[in-house]
Symmetry: C2
Subunit: 516 residues, 2 copies
């Protein structure tokens, strides 16, 4: 049907929208500047109902039910409330996750990406972002020891997706027929392996790709949290004997809880023996690549891995999220594994189509996550990142040392005492706090049922109080709920902060028995 | 080993880093304000070598090889160069992809998320972002017609990953044993279906989950680009007879190339007959939910789908990326399908743990993509989004109408003529430009080999020239390389812009024969 003569004209950006952007930017600059302020709480702890009420009072309901547009003031109020009520992950006493304060230059880079609204699939649409992504890959190849002639890489949305890529790439490499025919074409159950202390994303990846979680076999670890290569070898041999199809070993450089590093050399030997793909998940520990001091001891042999990933959004401080997946098994492998050659997007007769990366991925539109990391890296330099990493490790050692001292009888510093679950190798410190009433317990030697129940309650009790008072955030897990304290954004943490936080744990925890 | 007495103090944000943030923010505000400026080129087309040279000259090499930190000025230079050399997806004449100008309020929201560096896994760490995500889900449920009592949803990194979630959820729903035992436990080849015109991510999802691309069966379409329900029914029956295990139909609301909408009612009947999961991929066309006028004709029956996804980063203008995956098959399904209950993160004895969503996902850290969309939605209101969608459709109809008129003999407006590949239903216009020398061709009736070769060269020729001159960007695909013109960010496009771009195509294309 013919259209009426049009009357509607274009709508350029509204001045009030531009004003919102400018005002929010000012708000964010003050926010970032204030992150060092220790008088601020790490979190203003509120219930969902309280948060909803605060937004309502600011004329900007959380709910979108009524569908009414709101004015400039309400939008600014909502942004202020969001900043006020969100956890200050950049606070010096936020130790809860493997993310922390975002690098300021990285924040600027992320804002730039949002303003350009680019998508990293084709050179045509994202020339600068794709070239910069490749430079970030090249740097990673060089640091890992992969050859630029055989390695490929991508930024992907998070470490879990990186591990999924690894499993997917390895599966294709070993069983290329799976791409078109599916898993049944393998003619036997494919099996993969990781350690008991590996990140849960290995299991999730196994369920996604159709192996099933039981076929991501968890291999026991040694006293330092490393996958037992001897047990792996035995298990692979058994699985082969049973007609299964082992193909993948997922190692870890920096486990989530303990910060343990698998012995890549030992695992490589097993993988070579059976023709298995060796992936190293360096999401957390990969930053050690920048420290020649620790790389030698913690990442020895990493260049022999088939694939490697790491998350600059963790120790390097890029804003969430930037995860880098790389492999060293030949150019063209990612295209072969994931490509479907959609001809509306990846036309071969376009300019510089050889720079396109979209068809290497399992996404289509892809946020250009490399830019913010690249910008932060340019600003920090290799040495700036090295300092972060080494200082993070040094803070963990300082905390561990203070804890060891706390259990010496002559120490009067704390009412209770701190017991290390394991000596830290990286920037994780896992420990229990024993209130005076439980100071006699030796959790590492095992506890009777009654004491186990008691100790298991201590950490959540302390954590809850610290959270409600907004003092600090440290997560807990595992045996009798030990604390896991991680130094992810060390630049803004001082040794004094470690002392202060330990003091607070002692102050809150010493009353445990009477209040629990 | 005991640590030396520490001497290193904390490093608060550097004043020069804060200055970088402030200066980049100013740069971005000017950039966003300038997006309406039609005198700017859509792209300053450069080769990779030219881009590298420009960065070098600005003292900020693309390469990270030397690892040296650079100063404030070089960082600002690099940001300026990136803005100058990146494609202006917010330019009124950028029609190349299903992304366009990002909503200004949405950009502010994205910057806020980067500054807080939150991760949407737990209430503990992201209380506001999780509550807001749920409100965006609730709004989606209401618009689709899903019940809040049975529907669940998540923001995920892109429409392709949404379709992967759909396939994954459906597989678990039908074959729960796959989660632990893997695909072999199904006891037969699982099969899924989508249309020939569906997005390639259905195929990618099929390879990821281990079905194999051949088991994402492509069903032919009718003259309006809709999956043929009768052929689907026949094919499913055949596959069942052959011992296969059909379980999933992936419908499309707004196909990528044509903007066609599958007939959900008809597909629902087939799915009911065989007990198949019906997913509707509304990545592109889902925005029609906001227009009661078009919802009736294009999305009729969508509430009967088992799952539905859409991308506010397309027609709604949220900055890349925000994709919403929802299903209507009961609370707890996503946790059951994807959960692994990692106890370092999803402790049940934490405050408000029932609000945690991290274990529903296949990621771990997850960028809080809902916030920017929510903020933009609050600003625009339902009616603001409705206007965008309806105006986008109206621009497409206006363009199509001008093209129809161009082929009328009495029209003198153009030297060549425009031929529609198909009448637009949504905001996509697919067409060929016929230069005067080829005006006699009737591509819809088929061409001989010689003319096919000729016509196939016309579109890339025009596109290349437009790109080099920075005039406009429109992608091409399919039969004889037709143009696909999409109106993704209609707010800033006028009817005059449509006329201007058609005029440019005619100006460039009319010389085709002599230059080719």
């Amino acid at each position: 049907m013919p259209e009426q003569k049009p009357v509607r004209a274009r709508t350029p950006p509204k001045p009030s929208d531009l004003r919102i952007l400018s005002k929010v930017n000012h708000m964010l600059e003050s926010y970032v500047e204030s992150l060092d302020d220790r008088s601020q709480k790490v979190v203003q702890f509120k219930s969902p109902e309280e948060i909803a009420k605060i937004f309502s009072e600011k004329a900007c309901d959380l709910s979108l039910n009524d569908g009414q547009p709101v004015g400039e003031e309400a939008i600014l109020n909502a942004c202020e409330a969001t900043l006020a009520l969100s956890v200050r992950t950049g606070h010096p006493h936020f130790f809860n996750q493997l993310i922390g304060r975002a690098d300021v230059t990285g924040i600027a880079g992320e804002a730039l990406v949002a303003a350009t609204n680019g998508s990293a699939y084709t050179y045509e649409v994202a020339p600068v972002f794709l070239l910069i992504e490749q430079e970030l890959m090249n740097k990673t190849f060089d640091l890992v020891g992969f050859s630029r002639d055989t390695a490929e890489g991508l930024t992907v949305p998070g470490g879990s997706i990186s591990n999924l890529y690894a499993l997917q790439t390895a599966r294709y490499y070993k069983f290329p027929q799976v791409k078109t025919e599916g898993l049944f074409a393998v003619g036997g159950q494919p099996v993969a392996y990781c350690s008991e202390e590996a990140h849960y994303s290995y299991t999730k990846a196994a369920l996604v790709v159709g192996l099933g979680s039981n076929n991501m076999v968890k291999i026991p670890t040694d006293f330092r949290g490393r996958m037992r290569a001897d047990i792996l070898e035995k298990r692979v041999a058994e699985d082969l004997k049973a007609g299964k199809k082992p193909f993948f070993v997922g190692a870890t450089a920096g486990t989530t809880v303990m910060g343990a590093f698998d012995d890549v050399e030992a695992l490589r030997s097993v993988c070579d023996k059976f023709g298995l793909w060796l992936h190293v998940d360096g999401a957390w520990g990969g930053a050690v690549l920048l420290s020649s001091k620790y790389k030698k001891t913690l990442l020895s042999g990493v260049e022999k891995a088939d694939s490697f990933c790491w998350n600059p959004h963790k120790m390097v401080g890029a804003p969430l999220q930037c995860s880098i997946f790389t492999h060293n098994r030949g150019h063209g492998l990612l295209q072969a594994c994931n490509g479907t050659c959609a001809n509306y997007l990846f036309q071969k007769d376009k300019n510089y189509a050889s720079y396109d990366k979209g068809d290497w991925t399992i996404q289509c539109g892809r946020k250009p996550d490399a830019f913010k990391t690249w910008l932060a890296w340019k600003r920090l330099g290799d040495d700036g990142i090295r300092q972060r990493v080494e200082y993070g490790i040094s803070l963990a050692r300082y905390a561990a040392n203070s804890m060891r001292e706390s259990s010496v009888e002559s120490s009067n510093r704390f009412k209770g005492s701190f017991v290390l679950y394991r000596d830290p190798e990286y920037a994780n410190v896992c420990f229990w706090y024993l209130p005076p009433s439980l100071s006699h317990l030796k959790p590492l030697e095992g506890l009777n049922a009654e004491n186990a129940v008691k100790l298991t309650k201590v950490t959540p009790y302390i954590k809850d109080k610290m959270q409600r008072e907004g003092l600090a955030m440290i997560t807990f897990t595992g045996l009798y709920n030990f604390f896991r304290w991680t130094f992810t954004s060390p630049r803004n943490v001082s040794y004094d902060d470690v002392d202060i936080v330990m003091g607070e744990i002692d102050r809150i925890g010493q009353d445990f028995v009477s209040s629990a």
